[in-house]
């Protein structure tokens, strides 16, 4: 960061990151700018900063997630924090401990930052009210996944220069997707045109009033799009409940070469992972030249470093 910039605490004046909703566009941009610097650090031999030295970060995951948890762990460690991973899915919850009990227990250990993933929408907000430290939402139910939206935005910005004016098509299981909700808010805030493409069974009620154009026909939805963002379809939704079958889903909503041809010639393909190859995306496209899927993972660490650093600026110093 150059010297004439205001300090990060002013650019990001919040103690938590609970969602993209409520963030101002300039605050989002500040996090993205900070993440650019983190990309550079992560590419150096010496990857350590000291902003979180002496701080304790707890990754509290009520839902298993190798990718997001390790990304937050690396991000915390690169900033010098002591990081502890707690997978609650298989321990205390089974013994009957409530979310609030867990929060109180953890709070007594004086963490500085808690990163939370929970299967229920709103759980992270509830927990944030019950602890004294900063809280990062690493995904709550079908509500928000703010660091995913930030890393997607960073990836797009690095390739397209800017988010404003781009047409972004988000495709797949919008109904159950926290990634979609966070992205819809963020991309609109930064001036993109957002489309969603899905069978109506995978769209939430009132989707047309959520700041998007809605398409059930994927070729129409992808027409001229600059970014094609695929979503993961959970296995339990594939067999007749929301869609009839994998083969029918892939036929109408799987991203293959044929459907991608409807998008802009320089369209880029993204996926939050983990992918179901042959369900929502053809392996040929996932591994092809238009795919940014690997790079999204790298940007994930950078964005999480930026978020942790921004929150660190608000931690008490005595």
């Amino acid at each position: 960061m150059s010297a004439h910039h205001p300090p990060l605490a002013e650019l990001y004046p919040h103690r938590h990151l609970l969602g993209i909703e409520g963030l101002q566009p300039n605050e989002i941009v500040a996090l993205l700018d900070q993440a650019e610097a983190a990309v550079e650090i992560s590419r150096q031999v010496e990857k350590k900063k000291a902003v979180l030295r002496g701080r304790t970060q707890i990754n509290l995951f009520f839902e298993a997630s190798t990718r997001t948890q390790s990304s937050f762990e690396i991000a915390g460690k690169r900033l010098g924090a002591d990081v502890m991973n707690m997978s609650v899915a298989s321990s205390s919850v089974k013994k009957g401990e409530t979310l609030i009990d867990t929060a109180a227990t953890l709070n007594a250990m004086h963490p500085d930052i808690i990163v939370v993933r929970h299967h229920a929408a709103g759980a992270v907000h509830l927990l944030a009210q019950k602890v004294g430290c900063s809280v990062v939402n690493a995904g709550d139910g079908a509500h928000e996944h703010p660091t995913q939206a930030l890393l997607d935005a960073l990836t797009i910005r690095r390739h397209k220069g800017s988010i404003a004016g781009l047409t972004v098509a988000i495709c797949g299981d919008i109904l159950h997707s926290r990634v979609a909700r966070s992205n819809i808010i963020l991309l609109n805030a930064l001036g993109a045109r957002v489309r969603v493409v899905a069978p109506s069974t995978l769209l939430p009620n009132g989707i047309a009033q959520m700041g998007v154009e809605v398409f059930q026909d994927m070729r129409k939805g992808l027409a001229g799009a600059d970014i094609v963002m695929m979503l993961r379809l959970q296995r339990e939704r594939m067999q007749g409940a929301y869609i009839p079958s994998v083969r029918e889903y892939f036929r109408y909503y799987g991203l293959d070469r044929d459907k991608l041809a409807a998008a802009a010639a320089d369209a880029l393909v993204m996926h939050p992972g983990p992918m179901n190859r042959g369900v929502e995306i053809d392996p040929e496209i996932a591994d092809g030249p238009q795919s940014l899927i690997r790079e999204q993972v790298e940007m994930g660490v950078a964005v999480r470093m930026a978020v942790l650093e921004a929150l660190a600026a608000h931690l008490p110093n005595k």
């Binding site: 069974t201 067999q239 007749g240 409940a241 929301y242 869609i243 009839p244 083969r247 029918e248």
Partner: protein, 436 residues
């Protein structure tokens, strides 16, 4: 589709001296119908004066009615799986004998028609063996279980004209909602049998005093009404395309009339049995009168005719459901549901015309252009260019149904030895005479 032989090789046919009725255009006038290359080229008074082409076969129908061949969207066959009850070939012969030129088949076979390859099978077997047009409904849910949605997109591409759960209702409202939502994306019509099995409670006849005296488990009308009302709410929620396959109660038709007035894309049908028979016809436990929905009271039957006349009921079907002795020769409650009806659909319907309960044109509309339009089929009209699927019938000829002469492989007709007025003389499919 039905003719292995190309219709182009057939000589033109002129049906003369006819009463030409085309409900789709409102035509009902003396005239002729000219058929060339398997299509209608002229119909009505104008066809008299056009002069038929060289080599035209003239058929003087002597004042009989010439109308579009019937389109029956309520037909169950036994192929695949129960060919001893009915094949596509035998069903098509029964259809031809009854003036039905297009049948739409239930997915309720063994295996259930829930895979694109099976739709393809039905279409190929029909092409090779049937003498009328055959269009399959595909299963709305896999195995008709009412649990998992079937591949509506792929099945539609394979040639399914609409989606039905056969004789079973989808009881789970959440699943029905998603089915209607998903089907809407593909513009697909959901056709539903409306009887809540939980409320029907194993009932085998209409809940009434006579059922109570007979000691038979009975199904209340509400088993149908609640299901129809639920479906209409879901149609409003999803904006899906919906057709109640076979209604039988006043309150069902009132709900449908309201839904139509609200602008929903909903329609309904009824079997000719429910228009012409009532619960008293069951008599001494006669199982050929056992069907789902059950035959209702005389009041309900008359209300159904009124709903047909005012346009609330769009479609009349035969409800053709072949059953043999092994499924029917049982105590009433243990016998299978269903009655055959392809060969008596028109004749039974004409009873209502002769009794003055409904006009001939509205009756025929519900058996021709209405179902064709609902299913998007090029059928059920006499407009120039339409396929020459035509029925010729003598409106006033009396006859008695002789069960032994039925074409259907199964003989479970509720009209055994019935007296009818109005008989089919010829049935033409794509310009070819298919009646024996």
């Amino acid at each position: 589709m039905a003719n292995p032989q190309s219709p182009i090789l057939l000589a033109p046919i002129l049906l003369t001296n006819a009463r030409v009725i085309d409900p789709a255009s409102g035509l009902d006038a003396p005239g002729s119908v000219l058929i060339e290359n398997g299509r209608i080229t002229a119909a009505g008074p104008s066809a008299h004066n056009q002069g038929a082409p060289e080599g035209t076969e003239m058929i003087d129908v002597a004042g009989a009615v010439v109308a579009p061949g019937l389109v029956d969207m309520g037909v169950t066959v036994g192929e695949p799986g129960a060919e001893h009850r009915e094949t596509l070939a035998s069903a098509s012969q029964a259809a031809a004998a009854g003036g039905v030129t297009t049948i739409v088949t239930s997915p309720d076979t063994d295996p259930v028609i829930d895979d694109p390859a099976l739709v393809d099978f039905v279409l190929r077997r029909a092409r090779d063996t049937a003498c009328v047009n055959v269009h399959p409904f595909a299963a709305l849910t896999k195995g008709l279980s009412g649990e998992e949605m079937s591949e509506i997109g792929l099945l539609q591409e394979a040639g399914a004209v609409a989606f039905s759960n056969g004789h079973r209702s989808v009881t789970h409202a959440g699943i029905m909602r998603r089915l209607m939502t998903y089907a809407r994306d593909f513009g697909a019509l959901v056709v539903h049998h409306t009887e809540d099995p939980a409320l029907a409670g194993g009932g085998v006849v209409n809940e009434s005093l006579s059922a109570s005296w007979k000691g038979l488990p009975a199904s209340p009308r509400e088993a149908e009404i609640i299901m129809v009302e639920r479906d209409l709410r879901l149609a409003a929620l999803t904006r899906g395309r919906y057709h109640a396959q076979s209604v039988s109660c006043t309150e069902s038709t009132r709900a449908i009339a309201r839904a139509k007035a609200d602008g929903l894309d909903v329609t309904c049908g009824i079997t000719v049995n429910h228009l012409t028979l009532n619960e008293n016809d069951i008599g001494p436990y006669r199982t050929f009168f056992k069907m789902s929905p059950p035959l209702r009271s005389e009041d309900e039957r008359q209300a159904m005719i009124a709903a047909l006349a005012d346009g609330t009921i769009d479609v009349i079907v035969s409800g053709h459901d072949p059953q043999d002795v092994e499924t029917k020769r049982h105590p009433f409650a243990e016998a299978a549901d269903g009655a055959i009806g392809l060969e008596t659909l028109l004749a039974a319907g004409l009873r209502l015309v002769h009794s003055g309960e409904i006009g001939l044109a509205p009756l025929l509309a519900a058996m021709t252009c209405n179902p064709a339009r609902r299913l998007g089929l090029d059928a059920g009209r006499l407009a120039a260019g339409s396929p020459a699927d035509v029925v010729v019938f003598d409106l006033d000829r009396p006859w008695v149904l002789d069960k032994t002469r039925l074409k259907s492989r199964s003989k479970n007709t509720p009209f055994e030895d019935a007296r009818f007025t109005g008989q089919v003389l010829h049935t033409l499919v794509a310009g070819k005479i298919v009646t024996p």
